[in-house]
Amino acid sequence: MKAYVLRRLWQSALTLVGVSVLVFVILRVVPGDPAKMLLPDGAPQSAVDELNRQLGLHEPLHVQYAIFVRSVFRGDFGQSFQYRAPALRVVVDRLGATVQLALAALVITVGVGVSLGVVAAVRRGTGYDYASTVLAVLGQSLPNFWLGIMLILLFGVALRWLPTSGFESWRHLILPAVTLAAFPMALVARLTRSSMLEILGRDFIRTGRAKGLAERAVILRHALRNAAVPLLTVLGLQIGTLLGGAVITESVFAWPGMGKLVVDAIFFRDFPVVQTVLILSATIFVLINLLVDLLYTVIDPRIRYS
């Protein structure tokens, strides 16, 4: 158990090192002249030279990488030239909106996805099952940028029930959250259905029923709890889907989060911000999945990693 925790910590640390190497390669090695890229257009040559010196661009690559990592650890991701402020602060300012959107989407994903999956499994072969399967297949096939636009068209333009952009009240959150949740919700519904079906066929479920447990207790306490472990893994991996999906969803709904920030940053060629968002989102992903793996041992006492 302790060895497992240590191994996962070590692996996560290695992954984060890899993340920093990849970002370094994409933004420092590939462009050829990164100092020009990291400064606004028309910056004076003296500024370019100064940044070249700071980044150590005349040094060999491994020294440049060391300088890069040291500045990342100090929280110095460079200056956003679009906002004229430290890039890290610009990104962290927007993180809240993305977290809010992602959490709302996560609630929908789990709430609706698990319910659909459980109902489909318990009522296997009925209309409920087919309806939930169709919903799940659609959720995985409709592109979220299109789904978002269609929701705007229906609820914003035609019915005028909900606001279609902005960040003022909980009503602004509904359409983006539904859009972002569609894909992971579908995945969770399908996974819940198949693992519930497998578990409902096991002996201990029959024993539970035979000893007169209420069907509700059998399904919720015994079957669903066993289905929770694979679900948790998938949910951890879906953090990536949510962060990535936020890029598009936030752009469609003008939601002022990290995703919209990075898209805008590209058009302003604000690379310090791009670099910060990349590192931050990968770090969030790695840490959450580490947490999920460690949570297993709590949820499922049978799992004891030796």
Binding site: Q11, I149, G240, I248, I266, V286
Partner: protein, 285 residues
């Protein structure tokens, strides 16, 4: 699913479930329509014609000359849809192929080479998975530009991990099977074992992956084009058409609606086909 069992199941591909057949036919139809685009589309997909801007589809106030209506520059939407499909589907197909080849090679190497190289390659896979694909794609496209070549590279880069992991797992399982150990004992070379025993056993799961990944690639490419980081105007692309249609939601809803339906149909087709193949090849079902 154990790979040898999957290979045994491969000849049953003819017995696809009805939804999978529907998916396959759907996909085939869209591919065919895109391939035949120059024959099917009578209008120029790129040349603007301001006199016939924003014509609604036929049957909704439009004319049979423009079955799906025209866009904000008076271009025939059907023509743009067909030509856009050509580009989107070709990009997706090439990316899936490259991702599969790279992934298979990495998987074979990781599964056959020593523990250290294996560890290194699998950590590389973890790193790749740590980034939301679209963010990584955006960063790369921002640095290297939006040429179709760069797009294929970005898409392929996002896809190799799945193949590598699948092939690696197959290699590790198959290497321990008795007949493979027997072949080793008889003096078969590593290459021969890979070519004769391991690769044929991984074909089935790779087909399944490829089919579902085609859907992902189409979504990713149209997503990037939607954000303005994929195929550039005036070239027709489904994602780009959708983005252009956003500004006309209140007076010309079909601009954004129609390309989205096209994307959805392709993705739906590939997903249904992929699911069907998986069910067919999974011996547990």
């Amino acid at each position: 699913m154990s790979a040898p069992a999957a290979a045994l199941a491969a000849p049953r591909v003819g017995r696809l479930s009805p939804p999978a057949l529907v998916g396959g036919v759907l996909l085939a139809l869209v591919v065919l329509a895109s391939v035949l685009a120059p024959l099917l589309a009578s209008s120029d997909p790129v040349k603007p014609s301001f006199s016939r801007r924003l014509a609604p589809p036929w049957g909704l106030g439009g004319t049979p000359a423009h079955v799906l209506g025209t866009d904000n520059l008076g271009r025939d939407i059907l023509a743009r849809l067909l030509h856009g499909g050509r580009l989107s589907l070709a990009l997706a197909a090439v990316s899936v192929l490259i991702a599969a080849v790279v992934g298979i090679v990495v998987g074979l190497v990781a599964g056959s080479a020593g523990e250290r190289l294996d560890g290194l390659l699998m950590r590389a896979a973890d790193v790749q998975l740590a980034f939301p694909v679209i963010m990584l794609a955006i960063a790369i496209v921002a640095v290297v530009g939006t040429s179709p070549g760069a797009l294929v590279g970005v898409l392929a880069l996002s896809g190799w991990v799945l193949y590598a992991r699948t092939v690696r797992a197959s290699v590790l399982t198959i290497r321990r099977l008795e007949y493979v150990e027997a072949a080793y004992t008889l003096g078969a070379s590593d290459l021969r074992i890979i070519a004769r025993h391991i690769l044929p056993n991984t074909i089935a799961p790779i087909l399944v992956l490829g089919s579902s990944q085609f859907a992902t690639m189409v979504l990713l490419e149209s997503g990037l084009s939607f954000l303005g980081m994929g195929i550039q105007a005036p070239r027709p692309s489904w994602g780009l058409m959708l983005a252009e249609g956003r500004d006309y939601l209140s007076n010309a809803w079909w601009l954004a609606t129609i390309p989205g339906i096209a994307i959805s149909l392709v993705v739906l087709g590939a997903n249904l086909l992929g699911d069907g193949l998986r069910d067919l090849l999974d011996p547990r079902r």
